[in-house]
Symmetry: C2
């Protein structure tokens, strides 16, 4: 039994994995694998339509929005959204909250000017800036709602009268949002939605009127909408597993119920980090992410030892991002609270073990 | 038991599907699914490296080439290759052999000028042009080696001194090629390589020196090479299944053995098309594709009837592309010759059934 705290591709519900495995052998009893059916079959059309409907229902989407599925991950969206919506003579406003927001900024610069409205770089991105102004003449405002590497989350949507574009790769479907606050939401699937290989985009149809640049077909949001995400062969299996996963989320009560669980899971872990004498949290308490919990050992020499200690309990995926160091514990939707309990117990046992070791060392020296 | 003649996503070997299903439940016995492991694990690094090695070995790749895996299908390559290699002041030379070659041309036009060196449009693309000149000052020459919709295949590489770029989406790994003839080969995975969601690119490293335009990271071949195709999260599962499929191809004797089988399979079917009094082939005999066999009924009224007749024998995926009509039978690597035998027998039975019906109708009228 593994407790998978990986940052993505990450844990998926056991039930979803079972259903996916069955469909790889025989999809819905039709005598063919989900891997070997054409996307132009009625069987797959039912899959893609149900996946869209589940996205709409779970996000409580109002009318006037489209749901499309693309390839290339959020990283492809970084450039594609600017190619479509950063008009030649305009600048775009970006909030700089860390590693992935910076990547988005870098790609936007291929297409126009960027104004960084605020940055938390001064404190290694361990807080979310507030009190900044978003210029009303900018083409759009872009931010990343959850920063996987740094462990911060932006819980309230910044107020502005310009289009809001949000990278929700790592916290979509983790809590209720008001889609009406956004003009474009994008998310790589490999956290709360499904396996790697698919990107979800939710787009307000009126935003499409802002496209001025001529863009290649595979970079044109309108082409995806007009072709129900099947202008070319879509990532059939990734969409199918996302459908299974969203069904699972709906059955358990949707994003409202999921938020309750995510608050409980992250609360339990942050409480232990704050209590445990060996560790300290990295993110500003009010900006702490419920998805990715970052912390370090007060004595850096203990970090490798804790990783070993934890791995003997079946705990995997808690090593921090290389550039950040320390630990990053991801608590995505499919992770049960029992896994968090195992980790908390492990942190407590490790504390006892280390303290005892220090006491016995002290005794030896004293003797 | 289904006989899957679909054009893609298409049939995969039963053994590969079994292994893939097992890995969705538990990957290599590590207690995690292949869908929930990070691409930054040693386990996945072994997968991507073995997949690359198998591509190199099966294609007999010389030194000086790189193998990368991308997302977005061949359709994304249509624009990406032009963005990288069609320099501002140059034109690119394209061979127009049908539906997908035209799509590639359309996307190249976003980045520069295109010269169509030859086209078979005059005969609905049912032949491959020859005897044309490729301008030596063009940035590159592009062609599609197998035309899935029309059912033609380009068996010899056109001679030229400029870089050759080839869309091999539907015949890669179906027969030996000399990689040294090409500067860039690309292929959507969902025919002879694996499930949809991954694109293979084989690129001559010296071609990279021709990149002049500044391109976004996810459209820059150099970024994929420098990051071993993991600049961002790759399509983990699609790459894994491609590895299983290429292992299967290697075990059975590689592309040379596969070509023998593909000649036998397509030969059997074309022989029946030529013999059967009800059908006729669409492609010029010397340009007939071994992967996609296109034909029609001499009496169009019989086509729907034959589709029904065939479906009762478990035959699926033989309906022609909507714009082409008739039938398209795909004979990709994983399709066993026994399925072709079933189809041939079905065509013969259908002929007998129709001829008998006509005889009995004639008798009724005579009486």
């Amino acid at each position: 039994m593994k407790h998978n705290f990986g940052a993505g591709p990450c844990i998926l519900p056991a039930k979803v994995l079972d259903q996916a495995a069955d469909a790889v052998r025989d999809f819905n009893g039709i005598g063919l694998s989900i891997l070997e059916i054409s996307h132009r079959t009625p069987e797959f059309e039912a899959v893609i339509n149900e996946t869209q409907d589940l996205v709409k229902e779970l996000l409580g989407m109002p009318a006037g929005y489209s749901v499309i599925f693309l390839q290339g991950g959020a990283s492809t969206q970084f450039s594609m959204l600017a190619m479509n919506f950063l008009q030649q003579d305009k600048k775009a406003a970006y909030l700089d909250t860390g590693f992935f927001s910076l990547k988005a900024i870098k790609e936007a610069l291929f297409f126009g000017q960027v104004e960084i409205v605020a940055s938390s770089k001064d404190k290694d991105y361990y807080y979310v800036p507030t009190g900044y102004q978003i210029p009303s003449e900018a083409a759009y405002f872009h931010y990343c709602s959850n920063n996987t590497i740094e462990g911060t989350e932006v819980f309230s949507v910044p107020a502005t009268n310009i289009p809001v574009i949000c990278d929700m790769s790592s916290d979509i479907f983790s809590r209720p949002i008001d889609v009406a606050d956004f003009d474009l939401i994008y998310a790589g699937a490999q956290k709360n939605m499904g396996p790697a290989g698919m990107t979800l985009v939710v787009i307000k149809n009126s935003l499409l009127e802002k496209i001025q640049r001529e863009v290649p077909s595979m970079s044109d949001y309108r082409i995806y909408i007009d072709n129900n995400s099947m202008f070319n062969t879509p990532p059939v299996f990734s969409i199918y597993v996302a459908m299974l996963n969203l069904r699972w989320l709906k059955e358990k009560g949707g994003v409202a119920q999921q938020e309750v669980e995510n608050i409980a899971k992250s609360g339990l872990l942050y409480k232990e980090i704050d209590r445990n004498t060996l560790f300290y949290g990295l993110a500003n308490p009010t900006d702490r992410s419920r998805m990715n919990v970052t912390f370090k050992a007060k004595d850096p020499a203990l970090e490798a030892e804790f990783l070993d200690f934890a791995s003997t309990k079946g705990i995997v995926g808690i090593k921090g991002y290389p550039s950040a160091g320390g630990f990053r514990v991801s608590l995505y939707n499919a992770l049960p609270i029992s896994s968090v309990e195992v980790l908390v117990k492990c942190m407590q046992d490790f504390e006892t073990y280390i303290l005892n070791k220090q006491v016995s060392l002290k005794n030896e020296v004293t003797v």
